[in-house]
């Protein structure tokens, strides 16, 4: 992804704020996403293949469609993971994501109500964790997946400390 200069009329302008360096997340997130995707696909594929071999080749559809979707996902996921980024500024946290549908969320530290750190069994094995910020607005979609646990912990502590320092009512 190129980093063009933010000028008016440049479609990427809102996503490349001046003077902000986004940190990317761990590439292990690709593995995590692909593994969980594969697990959900494996049952229909196996069942479809067995039925196709035993009964009629039409059953290949049942196996083929999920497999094709999975193949497409496998192409997109690495790009999605590369597009994920976050940046800590003095007063707010920026979270950027998306390839086709891009978004950038700005969460002021003073607005944070709490911070969640989550890691499932697969995530733990791969050594990644997910940090989620919550404000009083349910729409705030500030999730940073795929952080190394140490970084997740550091971020959590830092966000809490900054949130406390800047906390304002609602």
């Amino acid at each position: 992804m190129a980093t063009p200069q933010p000028t008016s009329g440049d479609p990427a302008a809102p996503f490349e704020p001046v003077g902000v360096d986004f940190r990317s997340v761990s590439p292990r997130l690709v593995t995590a996403r692909l593994v969980s995707g594969a697990v959900s696909v494996v049952v229909p594929v196996v069942v479809g293949a067995v039925l196709a071999l035993v009964f009629s080749p039409w059953w290949w559809i049942l196996a083929g469609v999920p497999a094709a979707i999975f193949a497409a996902t496998a192409v997109v996921v690495p790009r999605q993971v590369r597009a994920l980024g976050y940046a800590e500024r003095d007063d707010d946290l920026l979270v950027r994501k998306g390839v086709l549908f891009r978004s950038l969320v700005v969460v002021p530290y003073g607005r944070m109500q709490y911070v969640d750190v989550e890691a499932g069994p697969l995530d733990r094995r791969l050594g990644i964790a997910k940090v989620q910020l919550h404000t009083a607005a349910a729409a705030t979609d500030a999730v940073i997946p795929g952080l190394p646990p140490a970084e997740a912990e550091r971020l959590r502590d830092r966000l809490s400390a900054r949130g406390e320092a800047r906390l304002a009512g609602l």
Binding site: P11, P14, G98, A139
Partner: protein
């Protein structure tokens, strides 16, 4: 009903019928003893109906006329016994639940404990108070009871419902809570105030003080009031003449209030006649009748009934929920009263409104009517609560602007009326609004001229919609988080959608298809503005600052009233001490 006499709730503890075991120094109070009946009457009715139905079924099962009268009479015995047992069980449980439910108020929080098997104790901090509602369902209203609900911004279900109480007790408690939340601490004297006395003092406290102030302060009809600050002076003058100035508060008076507008029933009905929902329902009915007439198949009637009933129900709820809508302004914030069968009196303290929207459907254009809705943290959205988030159900533009003024008394711009007019109806790309570029017409061919934003010192204005016009305002200090988003088509046209995240509610501030550069700059600037606005925002305890001002003035030898006009305290919007 019961031997226990209800305590004068909200009054100092009498010890007579107080709590069983006061934990710490909290004075636990009980609800009114008939609470379970008011809450559970529908359950009881359903239970009785169910048993009745079962009995009939059994009778039928016993069948045949010849099936012996003795059997039937035997059955009646059983049924009567079952009903008595059930009632005893229900009432026993209700009595137990009532005994286990109690509330207490101290200077910082409201405590509520309840539950028989699963004990729950809830503790709501008063400085987090977002709104106080007094709700009176029909049955409670007939019995002079009311339920008080405190919203404390913890998401849905985090509110504290105290009820049912006698109506005047609920009002007393509300005044007490608001005074504490405002930072005007009620002095707790050891002597209990007799309930009768309190009831006598109470009702005329508001109007009496209210009458003292001239009505000229009412912003009423002309939106000019937005600019000149006259109403501000009127209200504020009374505000300081009211509570904070007279120091010691033996009895917490309800803050005086001044009615700002009301919605006549005629206009409400007329507005519903002009709402699309009614036309959908009417057309649906006509369609059903025609279909039935043509096909002679009455089954259609049955299958269409739920949809028609649903539409009719929605219309009735709007009518019943917004009937007799009155808005008033008091130092404790905005007061709203409405309801036909179930009435609700809401108090939204200053600075608690997170976002406001003004909308106008196509059929409301003729009379130039607008509907004003607000987001308040803690007001859950869902069925039955639609009217809770309404600031003005329907009103002419001037009234809508007055409603807006209740929330944002100072828009932070030189010519607010022109700006607002442009926001409400404007389509001009060269005005004070920064609008979406012409190329965005491919994505939004109808309304692209309306998509735009404007920024003042105090708020962000987002306008959109051509068929349904909409203007959303978010005070800078109420911004939660911000976002820009861009889909593939938007990317091709170099436009982006800008969103402000607000607390849960009917208002979702966003503007689509802005120029990508504009959206990026807006994101950046808005983050900065929100930050500075937060730093200077008014205190959570909205009276504290005013009390300090009054103190300072008294020290200077000036009358307390002089504190008011300039800084206009007492105005909602949490904007004290900002010029």
């Amino acid at each position: 009903m019961s031997a226990a006499d209800p305590t004068p709730h909200g009054a100092p503890p009498t010890g007579a019928t107080g709590a069983d075991a006061p934990a710490g120094d909290l004075a636990w109070q009980r609800m009114h003893p008939v609470t379970p009946f008011v809450r559970g009457w529908s359950v009881i009715l359903v239970a009785i109906a169910f048993i009745g139905h079962q009995t009939l079924d059994q009778l039928e099962a016993v069948g045949g006329a010849a099936a012996a009268v003795s059997q039937v009479s035997g059955l009646w015995w059983k049924v009567a016994l079952a009903v008595v047992l059930l009632l005893a069980l229900v009432f026993g449980y209700a009595a137990l639940a009532w005994r286990m439910t109690a509330y207490a108020v101290d200077d910082d929080a409201v405590h509520l404990r309840k539950g028989v098997l699963f004990r729950q104790q809830r503790h709501a901090r008063l400085d987090r108070l977002q709104a106080v509602d007094i709700r009176q369902p029909l049955l409670a209203r007939l019995g002079g009871l009311a339920e008080l609900t405190l919203e404390v911004a913890g998401g849905s279900g985090s509110g504290v419902a105290i009820g049912f109480l006698r109506e005047q007790d609920a009002r007393r408690l509300r005044a007490d809570l608001l005074a504490r939340a405002a930072g005007v601490k009620a002095r707790r004297t050891g002597t209990p105030a007799p309930a009768a006395d309190a009831a006598a003092v109470r009702p005329d406290a508001g109007p009496a003080t209210g009458a003292a102030a001239p009505v000229d302060g009412v912003p009423a009809a002309d939106g000019v009031a937005l600019v000149d600050g006259v109403p501000a002076a009127g209200v504020a003058g009374r505000a300081s003449a009211g509570r904070p100035a007279d120091g010691g508060l033996d009895e917490v008076d309800e803050a005086p209030e001044e009615q700002v507008y009301e919605v006549p029933a005629g206009r409400l009905v007329h507005s519903l006649l002009r709402s699309p929902a009614l036309w959908v329902v009417a057309l649906g009915l006509v369609g059903v009748v025609v279909a039935v007439a043509l096909t002679r198949n009455f089954g259609i009637l049955v299958s269409a009934a739920p949809a028609v009933l649903g539409g009719g129900g929605y219309l009735f709820q709007r009518f019943a929920g917004e009937f007799g809508f009155r808005a008033a302004l008091s130092p404790d914030g905005i007061r709203l009263r409405h309801g036909l069968l179930e009435t609700r009196a809401q108090t939204i303290p200053p600075g608690r409104v997170q976002a406001v929207s003004l909308t106008q459907g196509p059929l409301w254009r003729g009379p130039d009517w607008w509907r004003v809705k607000v987001n308040v943290a803690g007001y859950a959205t869902g069925e039955n609560t639609e009217s809770q988030n309404v600031l003005l159900p329907v009103g002419p533009r001037a009234e809508a602007l007055t409603a807006l003024w209740l929330v944002l008394p100072d828009l932070g711009t030189e010519d607010p009326l022109r700006l607002l007019d442009e926001g409400l109806t404007g389509t001009d790309p060269h005005g004070q609004f920064t609008v979406a570029p012409r190329r965005s017409r491919w994505l939004d061919p109808v309304a692209w001229r309306r998509n735009g934003f404007a920024v003042t010192d105090r708020a962000l204005l987002l306008r959109s919609g051509r068929v349904v016009r909409r203007l959303v305002l978010v005070p800078h200090e109420r911004t939660q988080s911000l976002a820009v988003a861009q889909g593939p088509w938007q990317r091709r046209l170099a436009v982006a959608t800008f969103t402000v995240h607000s607390t849960a509610g009917p208002v979702a501030p966003a503007v689509a298809h802005l120029d990508a550069g504009d959206a990026g700059r807006l994101l950046e600037e808005q983050a900065r503005r929100a930050r500075t606005a937060r730093a200077t925002a008014g205190p959570e305890r909205w009276m504290e600052q005013r009390a300090q001002v009054a103190e300072a003035n008294r020290a200077d030898g000036e009358p307390a009233e002089a504190a008011a006009p300039g800084s206009a305290p007492g105005l909602p919007g949490g904007g004290e001490e900002r010029g």
